[in-house]
Symmetry: C2
Subunit: 140 residues, 2 copies
């Protein structure tokens, strides 16, 4: 990430630990050749990949299946001007294996939206980066 | 945005009103041919463009100056599974006009990060879309 802005970089384990704490992140991809971003609730699988749950016919599945996407989550506090952000970058794929689908129906994320014909999207945690911003008015 | 997921679309004015309420959003762009996303604090200018403040030599300026980017902000509540998100899509440009720069030093966003040689980035609000998710367990 940016090297010259006073953030502290976090390692993969620290990033994944923070990621597991928040319910909503944002899928970042390209749509009609434009940058696109969609907030979604998610969970982490046992291999640390990001799991989303959506409808089989959704625009999101069409846009990201088989494509490298970024997934971002963060928490910031305006009062203390501090917080963190984590970005997972990796290939997104719709889960097609029936056993895997069955497992995720039990253990994967529920959706905050009404869903027609559940599809799980897995984003591989190929690259995980994160940054922490502490209150610079105190420490910096 | 997605049409089949139970969200309510919001009009431009409603989107901008919500955007003005939150201090942090996320710039979405492409970096080394990969989707990239960076949370930043921001403010809205009088023409509703999104204003960011960063360092002249930052990776962000190099990556987005002259390029169409997306800028996203949202607020979600996990307890009620409700919230909203707004996406501004438009060209990002580093402000080079000295009078404009001077005006933004007075009226633009401050930065939460230490800055060397301030640069303001303006994201034109060419396309503004937004969605609201209400608690579907109650209303749906």
């Amino acid at each position: 990430m940016l090297k010259n802005d006073g953030f502290r970089s976090m390692d993969r384990q620290e990033c994944l630990r923070l990621l597991a704490k928040v319910p909503v992140g944002r899928v970042v991809y390209t749509r009609h050749a434009l940058p696109a971003v969609l907030p979604v609730n998610f969970s982490l699988d046992t291999d640390s990949s990001v799991l989303l749950r959506t409808s089989a016919g959704s625009d999101l599945v069409r846009a990201v299946d088989g494509v490298v996407v970024a997934f971002e989550a963060d928490e910031f506090d305006a009062g203390s001007r501090s917080g963190w952000s984590v970005v997972v970058t990796g290939r997104a794929t719709a889960v097609t294996d029936p056993d895997e689908h069955e497992r995720l129906l039990r253990t994967g994320p529920s959706s905050w939206m009404p869903i027609q014909q559940d599809v799980f999207i897995r984003i591989e945690a190929e690259m995980v980066t994160g940054r922490e911003l502490t209150d610079l008015r105190v420490t910096g």
